[in-house]
Amino acid sequence: MVGKGERRYQRMLTVIMFLISLIMVIPLILLVMASITSNNEIVMHGYSFWPKEFSLDAYKYIWNEKAQIFHAYGVTVLVTVIGTAVGTMLTLLYGYVLAQPKFPGKSFLAFYLFFTMLFNGGLVPTYIMYTRYLHLKNSIAALIIPGLLMNAFNVILARTFIQSNVPVALKEAAEIDGASEFRIFGQVALPLCKPIIATVGLFIGLSYWNDWMNGLYYVTDAKLFSIQQLLNNMIKNIEFLSKNANSNINVSSISGGIPQETVRMAIAIVGLLPILLVFPFVQKYFIKGISVGAVKG
């Protein structure tokens, strides 16, 4: 079945892809090695792929903070799960509606969506909306709702996919059978949409996992810090130090004893690790979702 040419072709693809992947992964390896290098070596000689002096100080420091770090993981996971589920649903619904053939108000809805990609009121008004009127400050909802739940980019992706992959004929046939719009969406369209559900779900999930902005603006209570916010706080604390070091502020408590260079890297890994571990499982569904799309028709 598989010819010689095919095998050679596969080998060639593998080699090319291997090289591309290598470029993508090398910095990650550097990141890992940097996190187990001694801080002094980094200060003196920079990062290296094989440090002369190994040290687990960064991880020891993090381990001291384990209570907070595990708690932050919990917050991140909770926010990511809820946000992804709700967000994917909203996105799919909106995208599906926009993919329908002409109906009154369609172009308005499309424009209404698209306009949000270009214009925004800025941070202060949005903040006032969420804290003064919706009272979300220092709540889990504040990490989920602002900004990330549904964005125009993902909706348009969904619309484009549905438009080109859910045949109008199929829908019309269901309509003739007397199916309601909701049933058509649930039973005809959704099964065909698995690739885009997987894609959009992945995008939304990653954006929740990587988010620290909502935390920065809406959360000051350490109990609600997510893992990325912990990392970001630390990096921003150092930046603050650099910005103000010369203006008569003598911030000494920031660096006090922390191996900064390596801790920075170690926390980045701590933030990355769970995704790398979980991703293969998510990916199983992702690939499955994609292949279901592939064998349709």
Binding site: D221, K236, N250, S253
Partner: protein, 501 residues
């Protein structure tokens, strides 16, 4: 007729002074009536820290409330925001008008005041925070923005001075002592010797991240009013002041030459202008001699603590006090404060009550600190407590008036006298008390900030030929409109001098 008028005036004056006397006693009662009105007001106090929820937070809050109770019907609520989030959070809180009473302001005080985000305490401060006012009176003159007072300056190293801060062991090797090093020429001799003895070592490292090694070379010689426009500290005000572009002065050009020369000789750490490692970590890595940076009475204690090495410091540049160096950090009252009178009463405690001050700075006695020497007023960690495990701690420069509280054991015994002396002996800027209104030159300031980012670090690190780089720098500053700022500052300064001299 004339006599009658005079006697009439006398009577009037006498009755006025009597009236004033009765007002004072009335005022005390009136003050009490306002502060003890029976309603408990919550006062939210916010400042930055490295831990948003230290272990002793609740206890400190409770103890503070016990001290507040006799003075005012108010309860304090403490909130610490992490350094990195602090500016964003304060901006948002001020803009949204949510609950906020007192906070530590570290930037843009004037702009915030102009935007109506701060409360003017000029009228109330002497009534409701008289002790705090008295304690800071010497410096409060530098805090009136267009006649409005938004908060109180903080007892700390307000004067600006730069010096050589370096490792003692290496300095000893060179044969120089701390007392030998008084001028920039002395510094050069030391550095040269260090480079000779330890060519592998960075003789000078930058004091700040992503900046040149000689960033602080001309510190204290100019009062930088805005965007590099300012006056020389020794400008004689009898015939008015001369506002100049600091980057176009002989002093700055001289610095550029020295920086270039030292860089060429290999005294500087390479890549200083892109360095992201704090100076303490570089020193700790055991391959650097020292840096040229901020000098103040607590510098040695601070740097020893941060580097774990034996550090010495030698003041070099002029020591001077400018408006900006006093008012850039203040405890401010937010515009949305519900009850400014009680808020001021709380501030008054922070600046005048030893117990309140110790609570704020060191936490709970017996748990977070203990008194080591009651007579001299020295506190330290209890057995088994370290800076890493302690449940509370704020630094002096944000503690209001630390001088009413205990000194810390690692500081010199007379640390507060040293700080007072440091500030009081500084050269006063000819424009001390003048606050520049930037409204007319906002466009120029934005353009100039960009130009500064482009040239400043490179020149101050001697990475570029000083002749051409400084000239180019100034050309671009001119194109960005620095002359306009000079004119504007000059006009405002002249007007201010005419009014205040």
């Amino acid at each position: 007729m004339k006599k009658k008028l005079v006697s009439g005036l006398l009577v009037a004056a006498m009755s006025l002074s009597m009236l004033a006397g009765s007002i004072v006693s009335l005022a005390d009662e009136a003050t009490d009536a306002v502060l003890k009105d029976g309603d408990t007001t919550e006062i939210l106090m916010v400042w930055p820290g490295s831990n948003a929820s230290p272990a002793s937070m609740q206890e400190v809050e409770d103890a503070m409330n016990e001290l507040i109770a006799p003075v005012a019907d108010a309860k304090i609520k403490l909130q610490i925001i992490e350094w990195g989030a602090y500016d964003d959070q304060i901006n948002l809180m001020l803009s949204s008008g949510e609950k906020l009473d007192i906070f530590l302001g570290t930037s843009n005080i004037r702009e915030r005041g102009q935007r109506g985000q701060l409360y003017d305490i000029a009228e109330d401060v002497q009534t409701y925070a008289p002790d705090a006012y008295a304690a800071m009176e010497r410096y409060i003159n530098a805090c009136y923005f267009d006649g409005a007072l938004y908060g109180l300056p903080i007892y700390r190293d307000m004067a600006a001075q730069a010096g050589l801060i370096c490792r003692k062991d290496i300095l000893d090797e060179t044969g120089f002592t701390v007392d030998d090093v008084k001028t920039m020429d002395d510094v050069e001799k030391v550095i040269e010797k260090v480079h000779e003895l330890h060519p592998e070592m960075y003789a000078l490292i930058p004091s700040d991240l992503k900046s040149g090694c000689l960033l602080n070379y001309i510190k204290g010689q100019f009062d930088d009013i805005s965007s590099g426009v300012g006056v020389a500290m020794d400008d004689d005000t009898s015939d008015g002041v001369t506002v100049v572009n600091i980057y176009d002065t002989d002093e700055y050009k001289e610095m550029a030459k020295v920086a270039y020369d030292w860089n060429q000789k290999g005294y500087f750490m390479p890549d200083s202008t892109t360095n992201t490692t704090p100076r303490q970590d570089i020193l700790k890595a055991n391959n650097a001699f020292g840096y040229f940076g901020n000098y103040h009475p607590g510098i040695v204690t601070q740097e020893v603590m941060n580097t774990g090495m034996d550090i010495v410091a030698m003041p070099i540049t002029e020591k001077s006090l400018s408006t900006q160096s006093v008012n850039n950090i203040e405890w401010l009252v937010a515009a949305q404060t519900e009850n400014p009178e009680k808020t001021l009463a709380v501030l008054n405690l922070l600046y005048s009550s030893a117990d309140f001050q110790n609570l704020f700075r060191y936490g709970i006695e017996g748990k977070d600190y203990e008194v080591k020497d009651a007579e001299k007023g020295i506190a330290g960690y209890p057995e088994g407590v370290t800076s890493a495990t302690v449940g509370w701690g704020n630094e002096m420069w944000l503690s209001g008036n630390a001088s009413v509280g205990y000194a810390w054991e690692t500081d010199p015994e007379d640390v507060f006298e040293k700080y007072s002396e440091f500030n009081d002996t500084a050269t006063l800027s000819p424009l001390y008390g003048f606050i520049y209104d930037t409204s007319n030159v906002k466009n120029e300031i934005t353009a100039i900030s960009n130009v500064k980012d482009k040239y400043k670090a490179i020149i101050e690190n001697g990475d570029a030929d000083p002749e051409t780089a400084v000239a180019e720098f100034n050309e671009e500053l001119k194109a960005a409109g620095i002359d306009h700022i000079i004119e504007d500052v000059q006009a405002q300064a002249d007007a201010w001098l005419a009014e205040n001299k």
